[in-house]
Symmetry: C2
DNA sequence: AGTAAATGTGAACAATTGCTCATATATTAT
DNA sequence: ATAATATATGAGCAATTGTTCACATTTACT
């Protein structure tokens, strides 16, 4: 019976530190060696913790990565939400520009970890976390669109939000893999914003 | 010295059959068990071939998957190219609709294999093949745009092609993971076509 | 102080599996 | 027919590694 959730919740300060050390070391080794080449024994050593302790908190190797992913997704979402927070009352065009900026910012935060997770996450079986992330992001956007309904031509706002998030995601993803340098360019962001704005039927 | 390319080229008919059987069995097991859980011994058995023969043609497990991926990518590209072939002289709007249709068709062809490869390809290290695929697809599209330059508002056609391919890809990818049922819907295709057409500055 | 609970340790096990190699069979060439 | 080449076989090796468990140490509690 293998699970992806942690085994035991640390209560004392000491054990909380152990828990954190494991996750931190895990993120490091994931970046350095990839999921397959990262061994639990090496992880424990890097964390300065015995292998036994590791298995006291995590039922298996996968669950460690699951925790790493979960935290990562949360941080990513905060960047997005934070970026949109700045423009709660602004007109649609500005919202879209901030959206694009925030999405790109998230993509470029913790680039190494981002890369490993993007490249190796699926087989680890943590697709749910990403599904959830998309869901939350769409919901956030839908609300933003709702508040500016008069500026949006598209009827189905849920669909519109989905299109915005996923197309933007795809562009960034491919860029990261195919033309990483382009990710910094202002041009790409402008094109992405244009893509979204025109789709919504809004003048730039 | 591990390589991802096959080891020996089969010359006789008998060995060519062996080679094919290995690739076919590999694709099956990849779908059934995933990359990690598929063992080379099981693969050989499924192919009706001894494990020794397998290693006569492939230097390692990865290289088998590499060959599977390569063939898959070629088939995918043919679907795309075929779809565009039908509209070599048509106006832009029609081209885009065919593009979207072809992209969706490719995504839905061999759905199981598609899914496994999308989910497990990266760690196998065959990102190059995908990079290459995007490259080729972009080039194809750029030519199509070039021939209709007067209908396109965007200046940089290379960029435009990149945006079209990657956004479309992202939409399909996320849909496959998050809302697989939606992939069949006409609505999604219409929205995608709209997204692209408006971006290009073309009336529908 | 003394006890119970929480936390930490790491040697060693069990199981898996990618891959080799010595050998056998089939095909082609002379 | 005979030699030479190509192809096929599969038992078993070598190496890796995730995980456990019996025991030590630290903290919390009475």
């Amino acid at each position: 019976m293998s699970s992806y959730t942690p085994r035991k919740k640390p209560t004392q300060a000491r054990s909380r530190a152990t828990f954190e050390a494991i996750i931190e070391a895990g993120a490091q080794l994931l970046v350095e060696d990839g999921f397959h080449n990262m061994t639990t024994n090496a992880l424990a050593e890097r964390a300065g913790v015995s292998i036994g302790s590791l298995y006291q908190y995590f039922p298996n190797k996968e669950s460690i990565v699951a925790s790493i992913i979960e935290r990562f997704a949360d941080r990513q979402f905060e960047i997005l939400a934070g970026g949109l927070q700045e423009v709660i009352t602004a007109p649609l065009a500005e919202v879209v520009h901030h959206l694009v900026a925030a999405m790109f910012e998230a993509k470029q935060a913790e680039p190494e970890l981002n890369r490993v997770l993007v490249e190796q996450l699926p087989p680890i079986g943590q697709l749910d976390v990403m599904r959830d992330w998309t869901e939350r992001a769409c919901h956030l956007l839908e609300m933003a669109l709702e508040a500016r309904r008069d500026e949006v031509e598209v009827e189905d706002l849920e669909m519109a939000a989905f299109m915005m998030v996923t197309s933007c995601h795809g562009i960034m993803h491919s860029t990261l893999l195919d033309r990483p340098k382009l990710l910094d360019s202002e041009v790409l962001r402008e094109h992405t914003a244009r893509l979204i704005l025109r789709y919504l039927g809004c003048q730039e």
